[in-house]
């Protein structure tokens, strides 16, 4: 089976997945205790007439499955309703903050890949030397330290003591500005550290395993330079097992952004989500949770395609 057909087939599987995710999201948000009406009216007593009107406005008087169908059909066109707190369209609230989180997430993922893969390769090639030991210590620390603590430490060292970064993000410049991009490095490193540590060790062990395989000896016996043997033959096969885990890291980076955005007062959708969950702003909460779900599905889709590209044996 060709790669194109594999991509198509794998793409079709995402459709039921997306439906499932939307149902789960909707169901969970509606299972949260507390009546949204109370938050809309700020817990004031209402006469039944007004309450009915408000419920009708948000569709809360309909049976749950009707509410779900309405929500999904609207969501498919990009309409997520209005926030019950700000009364603004949910879509515009998200669009305003999404670029911040996207840039931070991409940066975090980039930092992870750029550091984890080469250091993993080096640690594997020089296994059981000082270099390998050092990477092991770093990996242990990186996995052990909680996000919020690392974030605070980075702020303390680089923003407070060394004065290289401002304490608060320079949001007035917008995301596409030098200052903001530089500042975003801090939360990006904070989120990426755990994943870096994990991927680095995974890369190392995968590489060590591949280095011992017979085809490496074949490649050397062909007289290829050691660099070609490692970069062409060993790396590609080692990446196969790393790619899947790297895709799962996307989910960790997204969930990590929720905490880290609060630590750094970062104006992304993670902080928005935490705010609105507290206020039972169900249209915003639903939309963000759905968005996160879609992002994870997409990441897995990309991982599977990459996997098939790297390993020809799995295109069945």
């Amino acid at each position: 089976m060709s790669l194109q057909r594999f991509v198509l087939k794998r793409g079709l599987i995402t459709i039921p997945l997306l439906l499932g995710i939307s149902m789960l999201t909707f169901g969970m948000v509606h299972a949260i205790p507390g009546d949204p009406i109370d938050f809309i009216t700020l817990f004031t007593e209402l006469d039944p007439q007004t309450e009915m009107e408000i419920r009708a406005e948000y569709g809360l008087n309909q049976p749950v499955y009707i509410q779900y169908i309405d929500w999904v059909t609207d969501a498919a066109t990009g309409d997520f309703g209005r926030s019950i707190i700000t009364r603004d369209p949910v879509a515009s609230e998200i669009v305003e903050r999404l670029p911040y989180t996207l840039v931070m997430g991409i940066m975090a993922f980039g930092v992870t890949l750029i550091t984890a893969i080469p250091t993993g390769v080096i640690a594997a090639y020089y296994r059981n030397t000082k270099i390998d030991q050092a990477s092991r210590v770093f990996a242990l620390l990186g996995i052990a330290i909680p996000n919020f603590l690392l974030g605070l430490l980075l702020l303390l060292i680089f923003a407070s003591w060394l004065d290289l970064f401002p304490i608060l993000p320079p949001t007035d410049r917008g995301i596409i500005s030098y200052d903001m991009l530089v500042y975003t490095l801090l939360p990006a490193i904070t989120i990426g550290t755990g994943s870096t540590a994990l991927l680095m060790r995974l890369m190392r062990s995968s590489m060590v395993e591949e280095l011992d395989k017979d085809y490496v000896r074949t490649a050397r016996a062909k007289g290829l330079p050691e660099r070609t043997v490692v970069q062409k033959h060993v790396l590609r096969n080692s990446l196969i097992s790393v790619v899947t885990v790297a895709a799962i890291q996307v989910a960790f980076i997204i969930s990590g952004s929720v905490v880290v955005e609060i630590v750094f007062s970062y104006p992304g959708i993670g902080r928005l989500l935490v705010n609105r969950v507290g206020n039972r702003d169900f249209p915003v909460t639903q939309a963000i949770v759905l968005l996160i779900g879609v992002a994870v599905i997409l990441a897995n889709f990309v991982a599977d395609v990459l996997y098939a590209y790297l390993d020809p044996r799995i295109r069945y």
């Binding site: 016996a221 062909k222 007289g223 290829l224 096969n237 390993d311």
Partner: protein, 364 residues
Amino acid sequence: MAMLEVQDLNVRFYTDDGVVKATDDLSYRIEAGERFGVVGESGAGKSVTSLALMRLIDEPGVIESGEIRFKGENILEMDEEEMRSLRGNEIAMIFQDAGTALNPSYTVGEQISEAIRYHLGLDEAAARERAIETLESVGIPSAAERYSDYPHEFSGGMQQRVVIAIALSCDPDLIIADEPTTALDVTIEAQILELLEDVATEFDTAIQLITHDLGVVAEFCDRVMVMYAGHPVEMAPVEDVYYDPQHPYTVGLMSSIPRIGDDRDRLQTIPGRMPDLIEMPPGCNFHPRCPYAEESCTRVEPRLVDVETGDPADPINSDAQTAACLAHTGELTGELDYEVTVQGEDAPTESGPASGTSTGANDR
């Protein structure tokens, strides 16, 4: 000067348990176009010998001393760059298990043509063409289409043909085949050996064939070296070894081949096991398993000698039958008391034995 001369090669493995003498003062030669067999049990040092020729021995193994002269140049003194230009180009290797020797994530064509591009400096298209020709020469049908198939799309026998194609791709002068048929079933084994024979003749390539299968050696080789515990115990033209084995170990190996029409109930074996390479028995390494061993065998280490004259062997310059047993230097009081019977209608001739017709019967 022979094409390949190995002289006093010592390969050691420094393990936590002690030093393993994988080969001990090993000397032999291979002439251009010759087929040289290396026979022995697992752990006799056969594979280490071949990896040493490629300088591909992994840690903790080291080539401690000796010389490996290829076309007169000592490859142990070459720098890595020179060595690489030899590997895959003038000396190529065929590995035992083709299923794992090929990289699963590149097409077989790429795996052949990358060496061609590297050594012969051909461009993509020319290398592809040459790779397809090589695939054809090893008997892969519709080679042009199969060029872009992956190893898992080939059967075991076809994979081994691909591995042979890789070895042949740059037209080497010496191919080291390390048990090339062990992982294959018998019918495929015959095909692969035939193929090796054909290409060796066609390209006039010398082959060092490593095997534990004496039948394969009889069919394929001109000369043979029998190895035991890192030492050559017998080295001779193949017909001499088959019709007139001169070392008890060779005799033991021969008589352990089961034959059709044999009425023995049990398979003949050589009693005991190969010695621990870290703590070798004193004297002759084989004496604990040897039915003819005497007291002197536990003291005196036999050297490889000419079995006719008893003079020290000269494996680099001479073709004489040599064996490392005290019986040939007169230090044994008894004699190697066995008799060789030849079965079948073919009598031994100068041109070589008909395959599988000789029996070394051990009359203990």
